[in-house]
Symmetry: C2
Subunit: 136 residues, 2 copies
Amino acid sequence: MEKLTTGRVAQLGGVNLETIRYYERRGLLQKPPRTEAGYRQFSPETAQRLRFIKRAKELGFSLDEIGELLTLRVQPKQKRGDVRTRAEAKIADIENKIETLAAMKTVLRNLVDQCEHCASDDECPILASLDGERSL
Amino acid sequence: MEKLTTGRVAQLGGVNLETIRYYERRGLLQKPPRTEAGYRQFSPETAQRLRFIKRAKELGFSLDEIGELLTLRVQPKQKRGDVRTRAEAKIADIENKIETLAAMKTVLRNLVDQCEHCASDDECPILASLDGERSL
DNA sequence: CTTGACTCCGTACTTAGGTACGGGGTTTAC
DNA sequence: GTAAACCCCGTACCTAAGTACGGAGTCAAG
């Protein structure tokens, strides 16, 4: 059970050291045990958690949403139905994101593959393909 | 060819009116023609563009990246190879996002479906499943 | 046993992406 | 033909998410 210092876990997690303190304050990382001298002692899983947070941000989730995602697994001692409901909502959200991304990808693929004839500057299908008033 | 006012296009695009001006400054919307009195005249496509921008943000793209995506279709008069290269890069990025989201979804699905026995609080697979040091 | 690297903390600053304000002109509906 | 509802612009303000600062304590190597 190797313990990591703040600097080390930040390095492994790919974030700034101050970000660790910030996440602790935000409640995204629970307060770690301390040494005699008051130094934080992190488990290696914390680095993993940091990478997850980072990646989730790149996917458009806010820190609050990420906190939600993390509590879905960290405290499954709540009412089961509640967790279920929230998880289902996240799944739907994620499916929507995947769909939109897939549509974007298709458009870009077409752009690359056969845009020789699409060289004029109006009415390329990129915008239309992702539209449809579907709000999320 | 109905022209839209700033307020109307903002409404249709689902954004604040001030955001229109902001995007114009940022170069995400090109400067529209004006009336005698100096009022902006937008085409309906602008609303579509706004919805695209909004959605792309929710998918974790920065405004700069979104600008990139939009120029990929708005000015295909650049060197073809350049567009191709940038489009390929975006496609790879998007594929990565889709993969990560799909993994997240799977985990949540499992959580919902069979987490009865996963009720203890350590070592749920959610973090591990998305990990692997793969940075983007 | 000291020097350099690391940690602590509170607080202040920064960046991205908007949003609001307010004084002025314009357009539309009575 | 005037009041309400819009629009203009420059500028100031705001929120989320960090990031930096700096004075003080700590740890590890020589």
